[in-house]
């Protein structure tokens, strides 16, 4: 009984992943894959940005590391010889299956997050945002210059196209399951307490650094996993794929849905993905009866920008604020959390 909803959800996802590619047009399968990857990336960003209030701008850096790590580990040996001839021996002879490569990518990102988080998570408010932006810049520069591993700014290509709807749906479920169980456990309560009042949190025995570091590292783990999935979906990419444009997109989805809500992350990702698909098709021009609307390229981005502004004006806490589906919280705290999430939006808070 307890797991009934979970079983239903899993069955639906299994059905979608199993039947989807056969029933749906390929276009929609691709939209769903990107949607699922973005759910992984944005909900993992929400753990630090929404739950601990540490407004990180470094997330695409972890996505990039995940994509490159998994890409290097899974590349066929012959292709490795051709594309990355200078790879050190221990990597040159390795070709891993998808799952272990994805897990290693996630663990690698989590370790990087711990190392940079130990100094950075002591900062707060705007300082931590700027510092994590610095991390993103550093990752980009390192990837461009580490030609031995990444082919530099040239396209990294030849990555096996492992990512399909099944993998993405599976990882999205695992991500949301783990994040929701953490966010609504004592660990997540510690994160939310440090966000609301770090001084009071310390006075009740909560150490700030471990609480923030756990959110940051766990978020980085799933960013790495999502990055691996994205890499094996794109098949070829360059450091520029994981930069400011990706950051803006992730933040938009997160803030639109509601930072302190995993449900909100899913809603934000879905809303923006579907809207931008619809708008993208409209901007190619369409005809309404006798009325012929010409193609206006770029109009979809402008429309999205307007929608974002309107939401922020009328619902600055995002569509969901900090409310969750009872499914996410285990039916425990949902009623208590309340829609009052106000003065922590934007992360400019100590």
């Amino acid at each position: 009984m307890k797991y009934a909803r979970l079983v239903v959800a899993l069955a639906l996802i299994g059905l979608l992943a199993g039947l989807g590619p056969h029933v749906l047009p390929e276009y929609w399968v691709r939209v769903l894959i990107v949607l699922g990857i973005n759910i992984i990336l944005v909900s993992s960003l929400g753990l630090s940005n929404g739950f601990t209030g540490v407004f990180s701008l470094g997330h695409p850096g972890f996505v990039a590391l995940g994509a490159y790590v998994s890409g290097i580990l899974t590349l066929e040996l012959t292709k490795k010889g051709a594309y990355l001839p200078d790879l050190p021996g221990f990597l040159a002879g390795v070709q891993l299956p998808f799952l272990p490569a994805t897990l290693i990518a996630g663990v690698f990102c989590a370790l990087v997050a711990v190392v940079i988080g130990i100094p950075l998570m002591r900062l707060s408010g705007n300082y931590v945002s700027v510092a994590t932006l610095g991390f993103l810049v550093i990752v980009n520069v390192v990837l461009v210059n580490a030609e031995q591993f990444t082919r530099g700014s040239r396209t990294f290509t030849g990555i096996p196209p492992y990512t399909d709807l099944g993998w993405v749906a599976g990882w999205a479920v695992v991500t949301l399951l783990v994040l929701s169980r953490v966010a609504y456990s004592p660990l997540g309560r510690a994160m939310r307490a440090t966000r609301d009042d770090p001084i009071a949190a310390q006075a009740v025995g909560i150490h700030i650094l471990p609480a923030r570091l756990m959110a940051f590292a766990l978020g980085a783990f799933f960013a790495g996993v999502g990055g691996a999935l994205y890499g094996h979906y794109l098949v070829s990419f360059s450091p520029a794929t994981f930069y400011v444009a990706m950051l803006v997109q992730q933040l938009t989805m997160l803030v639109l849905g509601g930072q302190a809500s995993l449900t909100g992350a899913v809603v934000g990702v879905s809303a923006i993905t579907l809207l931008s698909e619809v708008l993208r098709n409209l901007e190619r021009g369409f005809s309404l009866g006798s009325l012929q609307v010409p193609a206006v390229f770029g109009a979809s981005q402008i429309a999205l920008g307007f929608i974002f502004i309107l939401v922020m004006v009328y619902r600055p806490q995002g569509l969901l604020g900090d409310r969750e589906l009872p499914l996410v919280t285990g039916g425990r705290v949902a009623k208590g959390a309340g829609p009052v999430y106000k003065d922590t939006v934007g992360g400019g808070r100590t």
Binding site: S185, R189, V204, G205, I206, V333, G336, V340, D343
Partner: protein, 252 residues
């Protein structure tokens, strides 16, 4: 139980607290009074680890604690409330108290994700403890409301419940009666006495409300400009000419 020895704090040459000595025994209710800027809040911040002493130190149950982190000190059994309250505003009333209770019921990452091990037992225990405390302070009916939406008097009570949830041996309260009317203050006095008896706590109180201090405290220490100018029973302190001078500004 608690002892400050030679405790001194200066902020860029300004002596906020000078060579302070205070001993608090188990179950005692001690008041610290003094005009504004006399070093009372500095004393609390030194004991609870939010400030480091310039000299001297704090001993709690025989251990030197003045170099420990605030969260570590809370774990040792010193809880505090803040001037003007500091709640987790976006968390529900119940969640606020559970945030206090959870240091006695730790759960690690694997347990939190899997629900194995201590997770369930600790969940139940901390929730039960939180409900008990909410009933004690009379907030069980509003348990699901966001803490930030409570009226001021109730926020005070919630902060006390959250502090008690940490399982303290010593409770430090910074101006608990500020902003309360005489009726609420009387209820607060009853509550503090009841808490002390039920949980066998020692209490240190910073307060400007003389009625409350004189009625509640067994011993009172008076600070002025960082110096201890008097210490004794309420009657002794009230009779002390230096105390009158400090409060009346040398007119007496």
């Amino acid at each position: 139980m608690l002892e400050t020895h030679d405790l001194t704090k200066s902020f860029k040459g300004l002596m906020a607290l000078k060579r302070h000595h205070l001993r608090v025994g188990p179950g005692e209710i001690v008041g610290v009074i003094g005009p504004n800027g006399s070093g009372k809040s500095t004393l609390f911040n030194l004991i609870s680890g939010f400030l480091r002493p310039s000299q001297g130190g704090v001993r709690f149950e025989g251990h030197e604690i003045s170099r420990l982190a605030p969260a570590t000190i809370a774990r040792l059994g010193i809880a505090r409330t803040f001037q003007g309250t500091r709640l987790f505003k976006n968390l529900s009333v119940l969640e606020n108290v559970r945030a206090g209770a959870q240091l006695r019921y730790p759960v690690n990452l694997v347990e939190a994700v899997s629900g194995w091990g201590r997770a369930r037992a600790h969940q139940t225990a901390s929730e039960g403890r939180a409900w008990g405390l909410l009933e004690l302070v009379g907030l069980a009916e509003v348990a699901a409301q966001p803490a930030g939406s409570l009226p001021y008097g109730n926020q005070r009570r919630l902060e006390i419940a959250r502090a008690l949830a940490t399982g303290p041996k010593l409770l430090m309260m910074d101006e608990p009666a500020a902003g309360l009317d005489s009726h609420e203050t009387a209820a607060l006095l009853q509550l503090i006495r009841r808490i002390r008896d039920q949980f066998e706590l020692a209490v240190i109180l910073i307060e400007h409300d003389m009625d409350l201090v004189m009625n509640l405290c067994e011993r009172i220490q008076v600070l002025a400009y960082g110096e201890t100018i008097a210490e004794g029973t309420p009657a002794e302190v009230q009779a002390d000419p230096r105390v009158r001078e400090a409060y009346l500004g040398g007119v007496a």
